[in-house]
């Protein structure tokens, strides 16, 4: 611990007098701090409890995923994408498969699209449930909401395990379809899980939504304005909590989302509480999509039989494919030079880009608010550092 000498970029720091600058305290929150959800450091300058400056430090989990993928075949990178945002592997697979399908012009059969929507929305349910659990845990609720969320998540991970063989590293999508078809009885079990989910949401809402401590800790905390959210490329539930009406499922019409009736919840304050509420409401919409998808799913092939699995070489060109992942806009940018591995492979990580505004949200608040704000952004370090 040492005092800060000399001015830095933050205006609040410059406005302080010399004597009060000597009182400032510089601390490193992280890389090993329970609220950082991994290895992530925030160099915080404090004036008492008051945050004057906050500089995030990235890269503790950096393994240059993009470089590895450029020396790997197209299909060979599919299991690696599971490790980006390891809470929701299936949506990572989906975004990558979508980008390659755009690059090579591959059509996806009807049943495979339904399987993608079903597994993708189940992923969204468990991600949002977990996130709210983590957020409450960070703010000191000692377990109960997190355990409730994990109980529900476990049911969904059981479904993933039945379907793909793995709870978390699913490696489920293939270019032009999915890897395996539903095992016998899976759909009935999934219907049971989804039918039970609103009960969990009711319970969760009763427990949390009008909880006085929660409201005190989150309302008017970490307010993100609509203008800054758009300019800073904030996407997903975090942008919608600031009132940005932008859901890629509605805008891009990718996959078969046009067939389902669902609404896009929006917040109006852009604070931590709105980000929490938007996710709660999104789970209800996902339950609606799941019910429709599981009702309508047709029989048929799950992968385009014309796809070349071995020796897959897309023609030279490039493509950017993106989906609405639970964290935000997850995109893959690929350039093919006609060889079996991509010339350029880029992940657009929503977790990293949503952190652009971390300092703006935290400066002027208290130390304890940093934890709530970071929790509400919803990051996974595997994706931030790649």
């Amino acid at each position: 611990m040492n005092t800060v000498a000399g001015p830095t970029v933050q205006s609040e720091l410059e406005s302080l007098s010399e004597t009060s600058k000597e009182q400032l305290l510089e601390i490193a929150m992280g890389p090993q701090h329970p609220s950082t959800h991994g290895v992530f450091r925030m160099n915080v300058v404090l004036d008492g409890e008051h945050v004057v400056q906050l500089k995030p430090v990235f890269g503790y989990l950096h393994r240059n995923h993009e470089k590895i993928a450029e020396s790997e075949t197209y299909l060979g990178s599919m299991p690696y994408t599971d490790r980006l945002d390891y809470i929701c592997p299936i949506t990572n697979n989906w975004a990558y498969a979508l980008a390659v399908e755009k690059l090579a012009g591959i059509e996806v059969p009807e049943r495979a699209e339904y399987l993608r929507v079903i597994t993708g929305e189940l992923t969204r349910l468990q991600n949002h449930a977990c996130l709210i659990g983590f957020l409450m845990q960070d703010m000191g609720s000692s377990g109960t909401p997190l355990m409730y969320a994990f109980r529900e998540r476990e049911k969904i991970l059981d479904l993933f395990e039945l379907l793909t063989g793995a709870r978390m590293m699913c490696n489920y999508m293939r270019f032009g379809g999915c890897r395996t078809d539903l095992p016998a009885g899976w759909l009935d079990q999934a219907k049971k899980v989804v039918a039970g989910f609103p009960r969990f949401l009711d319970e969760y809402e009763q427990l949390l939504v009008s909880n006085e401590i929660l409201m005190d800790r989150t309302q008017e905390v970490g307010v993100l304005s609509r203008e800054l959210a758009v300019s800073a490329g904030i996407s997903g539930p975090m942008a919608r909590a600031s009132g940005v009406d932008y859901d890629i499922r509605k805008v891009d019409h990718y996959s078969i989302y046009d067939r389902f009736a669902f609404r896009v919840p929006l917040g109006s304050h852009g604070d931590v509480y709105d980000r929490f509420m938007v996710r709660l409401l999104e789970m209800r919409e996902s339950v609606g999509i799941l019910e429709q998808a599981m009702r309508d799913i047709p029989a048929g092939p799950i992968v385009d039989p014309k796809i070349k699995v071995r020796g897959f070489r897309p023609k030279p060109g490039e493509a950017y494919g993106r989906i609405e992942s639970p964290k935000g806009e997850l995109g893959f940018y690929l350039i093919s030079d006609g060889s079996p591995n991509p010339y350029r492979y880029r992940v657009r990580p929503p977790s990293l880009i949503n952190l652009t505004v971390l300092e703006d949200l935290c400066v002027g608040r208290n130390v304890a608010d940093i934890v709530a704000i970071l929790g509400s952004i919803d990051i996974v370090l595997g994706e931030v550092d790649r």
Binding site: F58, P314, P316, G321
Partner: protein, 210 residues
């Protein structure tokens, strides 16, 4: 959304800018516009603010490394061999300078259209690696341009806080370049703890310990 129309619209609004339509042969059909570095900020501001376009959301920013192609040719040179002047064939390699390219994927939240793909190239890969930063136009480029600076070595002029993002500050090379070679071992990032260890061993040696 017609890229040809957007191109002529920008050319009318930003005098002197050089735009080039880059055709993408892949089935994705995402063609792109190459802009020149000198007018990049003006073009970006126009794309963001023009009422018909309103590309207010800069989604993805990334770099691409294009090393120059090495061409080898046989050249006949006259040389003194064993005291006699003879014509000898020699292999001569010439390397094109290559370039670093930065790609921006723009969307419009207001108009709900996109993507519009912008590209910018540096002069070469060693000395002329400067490009104007578009962070003042779209804040979302802040961390992504830092990442490109870190991994590709493009220097963004006008970026408010251009530091390495993922590698540590003392690191020298740019790992995403195609000709990057892994070192045998890495110099690890010095941490505050290293100083403590040094003091501890000094203390022990002074006391007659290790």
């Amino acid at each position: 959304m017609n890229l040809e129309a957007i191109k002529s619209e920008i050319e009318a609004a930003v005098p002197g800018c050089r735009l080039e339509l880059v055709v993408n042969p892949s089935p994705s059909g995402q063609h792109s516009l190459r802009i020149d570095a000198a007018h990049a900020v003006a073009v970006a501001l126009y794309l963001r603010d023009a009422p018909g376009l309103r590309f207010d959301f800069c989604s993805n920013v990334t770099g691409i490394d294009w090393p120059g192609k090495q061409t080898t040719e046989k050249v006949k040179v006259s040389k003194l061999v064993d005291g006699i002047e003879q014509e000898v064939e020699e292999l001569r390699t010439t390397a094109a300078p290559g370039s670093l390219e930065v790609v921006y994927h723009l969307y419009s939240i207001e108009k709900k259209h996109g993507p519009l793909v912008l590209r910018m190239s540096t002069g070469d890969r060693d000395a002329n690696v400067h490009l104007p930063s578009l962070t003042p136009v779209w804040r979302s480029a802040e961390l992504q341009e830092r990442e490109i600076f870190d991994l590709f070595g493009v220097v963004f002029d006008g970026h408010p806080d251009l530091r390495r993002l993922l590698m540590w500050d003392e690191f020298q090379d740019h790992p995403m370049r195609r000709d990057y070679v892994d070192p045998d071992d890495y110099e690890y990032e010095p941490t505050a703890h290293d100083g403590v260890l040094r003091r501890a061993s000094q203390h022990l040696s002074e006391g007659g310990g290790r």
